[in-house]
């Protein structure tokens, strides 16, 4: 996760809360949260190398496929769930969102915006687009359900997921005036606190 995203998430998550990070990668965010906010954190990850990185980082991690298991974490007393750049990789993102909000009171979701102008240009050129946020080629991408900011916010309205906070970041990871004015066109990533 980029530094700027880490800082945003760090700011939103209350001290001493119990946090679960779905797709926690090397555990960097959880390590930071534990050091700076005394958070009790658990990561869910399925990649053995990343799990080993978590263990080196001293981060508690459970090896599991997120698609198979979000609902297993209900009733475990989580305050916040984090899903950073993973929602579009899941088989059923809408069900995953519903389940996440049963696991924790609030969730932090970060999303690569497929509506960004750079990607739109790629499509106009008749090619599957790529960007810094979505670097993989079409034949090796893990993304199954890419969406735009507008799509995602439509889903939140339809399902009554309350967006409590949001930040839009441009391609350089900055929360600029333009990215916030016309996020669906100019933001490359969106960060949401949903409750």
């Amino acid at each position: 996760m980029d530094n700027i995203l880490q800082l945003i998430v760090l700011d939103w998550i209350p001290s001493q809360s119990k946090v679960i990070d779905f797709g926690c990668g090397d555990g960097a965010l959880l390590k930071l949260l534990s050091e700076q906010k005394s958070v009790t954190g658990y990561g869910v990850e399925n990649d053995p190398d990343k799990i080993n990185a978590c263990i080196i980082n001293g981060v508690s991690v459970i090896q599991q496929d997120i698609d198979a298991g979000i609902h297993n974490y209900k009733g475990m007393g989580f305050d916040v769930a984090v899903m950073a750049s993973s929602i579009q990789c899941l088989r059923k993102p809408r069900d995953a969102m519903k389940n996440i909000l049963k696991v924790a009171n609030e969730c932090v979701i970060t999303l690569p915006n497929f509506g960004n102008w750079e990607l739109r240009l790629g499509i106009l050129n008749g090619k599957m687009p790529s960007s810094a946020q979505l670097p993989a080629k079409w034949y090796e991408t893990k993304n199954l359900h890419l969406c735009t900011i507008a799509d995602f916010e439509d889903l939140c309205r339809e399902e009554s997921f309350a967006i409590k906070k949001n930040v839009y970041l441009n391609r350089k990871g900055k929360s600029t005036w333009l990215a916030n004015k016309l996020p669906n066109l100019f933001a490359a990533q969106a960060v949401y606190l949903i409750g």
């Binding site: 978590c54 263990i55 080196i56 508690s60 991690v61 459970i62 090896q63 974490y73």
Partner: protein, 366 residues
Amino acid sequence: MKINTEKVSFVEPLALESGEVLHGFDLMTETYGELNYAKDNAVLICHAFSGNHHAAGKKDGEKKPGWWDELIGDGKTIDTRNYFVVAVNNIGGCHGSTGPATPNNESNQFSGASFPEVSVSDWVKTQKLLADHFGIDCWEMVAGGSLGGMQALQWAISYPNRVKKAAIIAASSKISTQNIALNEVAREIIKKDQDFHNGDYLSKDVSPKKGLKAARMLGHITYLSESNMSKRFGRRLQDPENKIDADINYEVENYLQYKGEQFANTFDANSYILMTKAMDSFDPAKDFDNDLVKCLQNIQAKLLVISFDSDWLFPKEYGVEIQMSAIKAGIDSSYIELEGDYGHDSFLFYSEQYSVALTNFLNSDG
């Protein structure tokens, strides 16, 4: 690697979970490497059902090294250049520690079948006395596979401030009904051997070897995976020159016969029964209203729970259950599922994934 084998005697009475008392006991121990000045580099290795204190290294005249030699040694997963590794033979066993096959202190008779029932928490209690003996305030790690993993878990529960890390490998917080059933068949086979004499065979100078052998053959099947057996033996016929028994057709039969026989020559039948009983009764949550979450809540150690995908005796669901309860309890715990070719026995063998995970865990900040 510096190896030291030592029998440590304890004279104080030991109150067992069953209510019975052992009036002093011996622990057979083996240590590898050296305890540092601060005495904070100690790792305790707990053995599985039929294991013992000889976990690593090769002694004179031995064909095979200790049972976890692939993982313990200079430059290995548990690096004896940095850590002082302690392995112990549990009481009730038959490799030098006080058990049914050692003469009773008072009467100088074999206790045999009258040796009291021992439990996992009894073992952990004796291991704690051993830590005191070595002057070790806190283990850097307690690790074990199978029944050894249960001891590692019990350590974290019983002595929260005396263990920093617990590696619970191919284990569970209690065994399944199927496991108890398999153990009972093994015990029945032993007891029905005409040389068993209700457990008092030693005083008659015989041993129920046939029963022990058959029990071990059954056990051995459960330790391996189906695919591993197919790969190793297939349906190949045993070559006639190396047949243990004339009736044997297939290689797998010969292998089981050989393994069973080897085991029956070195293991004590009463110990077998005691060890399996200790495994059956292990259930630390029973003292906490059968609530595993409550049971884990006071743990201060960091846990690493490892399961192997081919293990059908202690399947991954058991590891996941410990981990989910640990998460609910809010304690520091990680779970990984590793590929292992050898079924339940996978915990005994080196693999890169396994070694990396254990090393990282051991070397991570406590």
